[in-house]
């Protein structure tokens, strides 16, 4: 069982799919010769050739548009956004073309649009964003945010095999920091299913992406003072695993929703709404959201640190909620 980084798990997942299915190919900026800005596609050009690992001009609309066209005639493209922040440059192709083809005229668009999201790397406003909210309200799309190397591999495979367009947001902070022993066999993580990272009875933290690790750190600290925290990793933002969300809310009756996308309009609001609508009687306290404030992601370390939710923020909020 080789120890694999989160980044290599993504690479291996794409690679394995390309080996077994020659419809799968990769396109994006600097993905071929350079192996990708973060080296996610390293070695692929040599192995699969320039027809299946395509270095494109700086053209996010053409990258995604071409992916759509190739998918309509039977290919399985995996389009890379060098930084997921650049996905705004092809917003139109995603929401108006890819998302609506099946509904409108029965044509599936099995594309994957993936790229590194998230902050904590001094990237500043344009290299640190979490764009899931822009697409959350677009029926026809799927959105996944893996937090573990296992899920990174399982979800990229699921995304590639999915008959519908999947936005795959990998967190750059986790790229080389997360290392796991991964099984060698072919495994897939289903889209739309959350995963319990830690079981507990007193309080639930529902989260995803890099924030999972902050939640687990907080849970560890809280357990020393007798508070037993459950951590649910959503993994999929669209569709949400409503069953798992309601189950944990009903179990602990106290819920914190935590994410790295900014507060207003972040996916957390939808989670809160569903719990309030469908599990209200089970709650013993208000549902609490923890998310960065409504600002662009700032660059300087002191500002970015104040911006991102920290373990101590989660601990404090949990204690306060537990005492309610």
């Amino acid at each position: 069982m080789p120890v694999t980084t989160y980044l290599d798990a993504i690479k291996d997942g794409i690679w394995e799919e390309m080996e077994k299915d020659d419809r799968v190919f990769v396109l994006g900026e600097d993905v071929g010769i350079y192996g990708g800005a973060f080296k996610v596609t390293k070695g692929m050009l040599d192995r699969f050739g320039p027809m299946r690992v395509i270095d494109t001009p700086i053209s996010e609309s053409a990258i995604v548009g071409a992916a759509i066209g190739a998918a309509l005639v039977g290919m399985r493209p995996v389009a890379e956004m060098q930084f997921i922040d650049f996905i705004s440059c092809c917003f139109d192709q995603i929401v108006n073309f890819a998302a609506k083809c099946r509904y409108r005229w029965g044509a599936g668009v099995p594309i994957v649009v993936r790229g590194p999201c998230g902050g904590g790397v001094h990237g500043g406003p344009f290299h640190s964003q979490n764009p899931e909210s822009y697409f959350f309200n677009v029926p026809g799309l799927k959105i996944v945010c893996p937090s573990t190397a296992y899920d990174a591999k399982g979800l990229i495979k699921a995304a590639i095999r999915d008959p519908d367009p999947v936005l795959y947001f990998e967190h750059k902070f986790l790229y080389r920091r997360i290392k796991e022993d991964l099984p060698t066999d072919d495994f897939v993580v289903p889209i739309g299913k959350a995963a319990l990272r830690r079981e507990g009875d007193d309080l639930s933290i529902i989260t995803y992406g890099a924030m999972v690790y902050k939640a687990l750190e907080a849970a560890e600290e809280l357990s020393k003072t007798g508070l037993d925290v459950e951590v649910l990793d959503l993994r999929s933002i669209l569709p949400l695993d409503e069953e798992a969300i309601l189950a944990t809310a009903k179990k602990t009756s106290k819920v914190i929703v935590l994410h790295e996308a900014t507060m207003t309009g972040g996916p957390g609001g939808e989670v809160v709404a569903r719990i309030a609508e469908k599990a209200f009687e089970y709650l013993d306290g208000p549902i609490v959201r923890i998310a960065p404030p409504d600002t662009p992601v700032p660059y300087s370390p002191t500002l970015e640190e104040a911006f991102l939710p920290q373990t101590r923020d989660i601990v404090a909020a949990a204690r306060k909620l537990a005492a309610y």
């Binding site: 395509i54 001009p57 609309s61 548009g65 139109d92 099946r102 409108r104 029965g106 044509a107």
Partner: protein, 338 residues
């Protein structure tokens, strides 16, 4: 309808000239396009029997017909909203098209989208979106798949001159040209994008000037002369199919209607309508075919009646079709297994 003296077709030497069979086929389809669109816009829409808006390509029939005639079964086409000829020539029936305009379940989109926002991959027709120019990279992508798989198929993409101002148009053409993809880009330059004339759309007189920006051939063609259209399209499609990459073919024509059925185009100088009416592509071609002895006026009358009967049938059939059931609204957002 007032008969105007048609401007005779210039006798040019083209590399590719249609034989009589192709000529008759093209005339039939141009007349069918005219008939179905006249029926939709001048009758059904005004009578409230159409759901939503209506966009027609009156006066531009030669463009979709003279290009689509060259399509092989496996070629893929991404038309725009004034390319009715593409649908009909691909074998999509008038019945399904009228049902589409009437929002019925039997329409191409089962009532999910309206008017020309339709497609069917069984016929290799990609449905366009209202965001003009979006189909340009998509067509390039289909062409990319053909090269990846070593297939001798081409992709055809249609847009008006207005769409060429959009960034997606640029990115798609650039990508196609860098990778020498087997795609042809047709421009229906009908002089107006809604109320915006060419001078306000771009600072050049011809879209074809942009071909050199991508290192590809560009050509300007009389879009109201179907033989000229036929010739230019064949050359561009052959070029793409032989691996030489994309071309930009600009058809000069004129939008003989408003932007849509509700637009009276009061901003267009009436003299322009009169000038272009004399260059009506159907009248011109009919006159040429009569002069050549390929057709008689009587036969033309017959053809007209045949087209009218086909559309009568399509309208009758479509109006009997049910609307989609309300429960269907949430179906097929995602793959449901088929």
């Amino acid at each position: 309808m007032v008969e105007r003296q048609a401007v005779p077709v210039r006798k040019s030497r083209f590399a590719h000239v249609p034989d009589d069979g192709a000529k008759l086929k093209m005339l039939h389809f141009m007349k069918l396009v005219r008939e179905i669109e006249d029926r939709i816009e001048r009758k059904l829409y005004r009578q409230g029997r159409i759901v939503g808006g209506v966009y027609v390509g009156r006066g531009q029939e030669a463009i979709s017909v003279g290009t689509a005639i060259h399509m092989e079964k496996d070629d893929v086409v991404a038309p725009s909203h004034r390319d009715m000829g593409v649908f009909l020539m691909r074998g999509i029936t008038p019945r399904r098209i009228i049902a589409q305009y009437m929002g019925r379940r039997a329409g191409l989109t089962r009532g999910r989208d309206g008017n020309m926002h339709m497609g069917d991959m069984d016929y290799n027709v990609i449905a366009f979106v209202s965001h003009l120019g979006d189909n340009v990279p998509v067509a390039a992508g289909a062409a990319l798949a053909f090269t990846q798989r070593g297939e001798k198929r081409v992709a055809l993409c249609y847009n008006g001159e207005g769409a060429t101002s959009r960034g997606d148009w640029h990115e798609g053409l650039n990508l196609a040209s860098v990778h020498k993809l087997p795609v042809v880009y047709f421009i229906n330059n009908n002089a107006y994008a809604y109320s915006t004339p060419m001078e306000l759309q771009m600072a050049i007189p011809d879209v074809a000037i942009r071909a050199s920006s991508y290192g590809i051939p560009g050509e300007i063609v009389d879009g109201n002369d179907i033989v000229a259209v036929y010739d230019a399209a064949k050359r561009a499609i052959d070029r793409a199919r032989s691996g030489l990459g994309p071309s930009l073919v600009e058809f000069k024509t004129f939008r003989m209607t408003g932007h849509s059925a509700h637009d009276d185009a009061g901003y267009v100088p009436p003299a322009l309508f009169e000038e272009w009416q004399r260059k009506d592509p159907i009248l011109r071609f009919e006159k040429a075919l009569v002069d050549e002895g390929v057709l008689t006026p009587a036969r033309i009358e017959e053809m007209q009646k045949e087209c009218a009967a086909m559309i009568d049938d399509a309208v009758d059939w479509a109006e009997q079709q049910p609307f989609p059931a309300p429960e269907e609204v949430t179906r097929d957002v995602y793959y449901e297994g088929k």
